[in-house]
């Protein structure tokens, strides 16, 4: 059982003893059962920290932001940045370490185990508890959980309220932690790749309709990319919103940037953008589900990444976010890699 007071105490200590520069954690959101990212510098502010099923965001994105700032200002990192991380979040940190974007010494990881639970899916909550204003979620050791509302506790099966990724979660226990709260429990609600099964079984044309239908809605706000801790490229190969241009960049370098897709939001270019992103996340995505959560037009982006995750596991026996010392999926091969698709 995770007690927020313990986390607060630890956070306070770290800030008091100047062990960390600041702490990235969760605070109570303004409407309903929601949490917001918070950045705590002062020990006394640690009281606003919360830990509950609404702490859905993957805060490691803010480690990336911090690092980018450092690189821009060529500033040396003095103290590590503290972060409160769920199991999946620590896996994304693992990939960032594997790809040497972050250095272990620059982060202080306060891992929190999801134990029997996980985080809730705001959309599911809104649907199921319209108007009921759920206040808290209590996980018992079963696959049912209790939603505390002003009308008392309501018992619902986990899959009706948990985020898809939590239902399929591989391991609810964080890794690489400096501190860890909660215990390591084995729990399985559904198969790892349950969510894509349905689509995989559709005939090709229906699959196309499904994805075309979704991706033509894309407005290229790039929230999926901006929220993704793995999307730390300064300049995206397709339709960048930030350019790695300095006064050393030559005119030619700037003039000859390849335009793989155009700015106009055509279905084709939207699709290509997402395909490239998916491929670039193959073997790197750790399924924190943020891309899908933030998408304003509800594109099930996660299901694209999930397919790559499945392929990586089934074809190459590769799982991302568990080993920070091995080469990445596409920078490695085995002699016995499948090649039956090759003529």
């Amino acid at each position: 059982m995770v007690h927020i007071e313990d986390i607060k105490k630890e956070a306070k200590r770290l800030l008091k003893e100047k062990k960390i520069k600041y702490l990235i954690g969760y605070k109570r959101g303004t409407n309903g059962l929601t949490a917001l990212p918070t950045f705590i510098k002062e020990p006394e502010d640690t009281d606003e920290l919360i830990w509950e099923a609404s702490c859905i965001q993957n805060l490691s994105r803010y480690l990336v932001e911090e690092k980018k700032e450092q690189l821009k200002n060529k500033a040396e990192n003095t103290l590590p940045v503290g972060i409160i991380a769920k199991a999946c979040d620590t896996r994304s940190i693992a990939v960032l370490l594997q790809e040497k974007f972050l250095e272990r010494k620059d982060i202080y990881i306060i891992g929190v185990s999801c134990e029997y639970g996980g985080v809730i899916d705001q959309k599911k909550i809104k649907k199921k508890f319209r108007g009921k204003k759920p206040e808290k979620v209590i996980f018992d050791k079963t696959n049912n959980l209790l939603i505390g509302t002003k009308f008392g506790n309501i018992k619902v099966p986990a899959e009706e309220i948990l985020a898809e990724r939590c239902i399929e979660c591989k391991s609810t226990f964080p890794l690489l932690c400096d501190d860890v709260f909660g215990e390591n429990v084995k729990r399985k609600i559904s198969e790892h790749f349950n969510s894509i099964k349905e689509i995989e079984e559709l005939p090709a044309e229906s699959r196309w309709e499904f994805w075309h239908g979704h991706l033509e809605k894309c407005i290229r706000c790039f929230a999926c990319r901006s929220v993704c801790p793995m999307c730390f490229c300064t300049e995206c190969v397709v339709d960048p919103i930030e350019l790695a241009v300095t006064n050393e960049s030559t005119a030619r370098e700037k003039a000859e940037k390849v335009k793989w897709i155009e700015r106009s939001t055509t279905a084709t270019d939207n699709i290509i953008f997402q395909l490239v992103r998916t491929l670039h996340l193959a073997g790197r995505c750790i399924d924190c589900g943020e891309c899908e959560r933030v998408c304003p037009v509800d594109i099930p982006i996660r299901l694209l990444n999930k397919k790559m995750e499945k392929t990586a596991l089934e074809k190459f026996g590769y799982e991302s976010g568990f080993d920070i010392n091995m080469p990445s999926l596409i920078s490695n091969f085995k002699d016995e890699d499948p090649q039956d698709f090759i003529r």
Binding site: W208, F210, I330, D337
Partner: protein
Amino acid sequence: MEQYEPRIIAFLCKWCSSAGSDLAGVSRMKYPPNIIPITVMCSGSVSPLYVLSAFRNGADGVLISGCHPGDCHYIKGNFYARRKILLLTELLNYIGMDEKRFKMSWVSAAEGAKFTELAKDFVEEIRFLGPQNKLIRGN
């Protein structure tokens, strides 16, 4: 009305497959001109972006061909290609692109005949599928 002629891009590695297609020429084998070869240094240098870009610019089919495993002029480039291409194949298939439109093959410098067969078959397959209109620019 005239017959539909597929447009196919073939990324051939310089040392094996391109040489193989040269051999097909030297031996005066015949295959349809729908295949436009683009010689690359190594199959391992073909980025998925190339493939998508080919489709986007109107290719009805894309072929990537490299040296047989173990024969790569660059020792292991084709092994990396094999991984990347499998991922791309799976993904294209997943979103409902006809998987037949995207092929990978091993063709050695000695396999002019194989290249010819491959080319013939591929063109026919694509001809059967008809024009690719899913990833066309502007749609």
